[in-house]
Symmetry: C2
Subunit: 200 residues, 2 copies
Amino acid sequence: MQHFPAPVEKLIDCFARLPGIGRKTAQRLAFHLLSLPAEEAEEFAAAITSAKSEVGFCKFCQNLTVGEVCPICSSPTRDSSVICVVSDPKDVAAIERTAEYSGLYHVLHGVISPMNHIGPDDIRIRELLARLSGGGVREVILATDPDTEGEATALYISRLLRGADGLRVTRLAYGIPIGGHLEFTDAATLGRAIEGRREI
Amino acid sequence: MQHFPAPVEKLIDCFARLPGIGRKTAQRLAFHLLSLPAEEAEEFAAAITSAKSEVGFCKFCQNLTVGEVCPICSSPTRDSSVICVVSDPKDVAAIERTAEYSGLYHVLHGVISPMNHIGPDDIRIRELLARLSGGGVREVILATDPDTEGEATALYISRLLRGADGLRVTRLAYGIPIGGHLEFTDAATLGRAIEGRREI
């Protein structure tokens, strides 16, 4: 049953369709927007429209960008012989925050997940292979999440790349997080930390 | 530091400004919107614009409405001699859901709250007095929340209305909620339930 004017109900519906937003929260957000000055609400609407219309995918790394090529791919200071493969633009942001990496990226926009009917052709593996066939890449770092699907995706890609001439395929290191405690580290992580131990 | 294209950062900012939405959630919501088909994102933007531009306040009860007078105030079947005063349009929706009430409403859009610098002139008490001065009202039900500010607002209005000829001023009943347990009812509520006991 409808208890608010139709445009308000419509706005509540739009919010309620967002992930993790229930009906009550949607109502609260919609009423907050209604209480804003007209310009601020308009700014919000315009932000949605322009994010959707202006932002596309970089033709090389598939990351989100305005224009054809993203700032990272078009930067002359980045090492174009290393490509870090991630599942999501947010992962690019996370790695950039470390300021440890100067190579390029490749964003898959998902991971292989048979449970969700996402196969290798549904994520941007084809684009990665096309990039690699162009030559000039000496290392591919597979940086998908260390969960079942991320591991499977990394394994799948590493097999595709096996035997490519002079190409190193690597995976991020697993281990105890900095600041972590051995006592509270799960067995799987600790096992990997022992397996991947290094000389000091 | 900015790790996403400017329009995406802008959209994240807009979401992050909503109440109860942190930076991480804002990011998640923005990326969800980006992943939607263009029409759905456009629908969201349009919903904001039209809710803001089409929805105004009913010139009588101050509830949200499209047009000058809301459906409740313009309904011929409602009893216009009873006015239920609430603080928020959501309270109108809550009372309407009970289907117990056939009078009209008056929405204050807030409560008196000195802590937040909201005085009697900042909520729509003046509009209520103007409505009452028109005559024809025999009962005003003060239905603000039973918290400190709601109580103070009800008390303030009841004093303003004291002595108005033939006008009954009432407050919602307090007591144990239906389905509640005496054992778990707080002392304040239980005290009010005893005080307000009725013959059966």
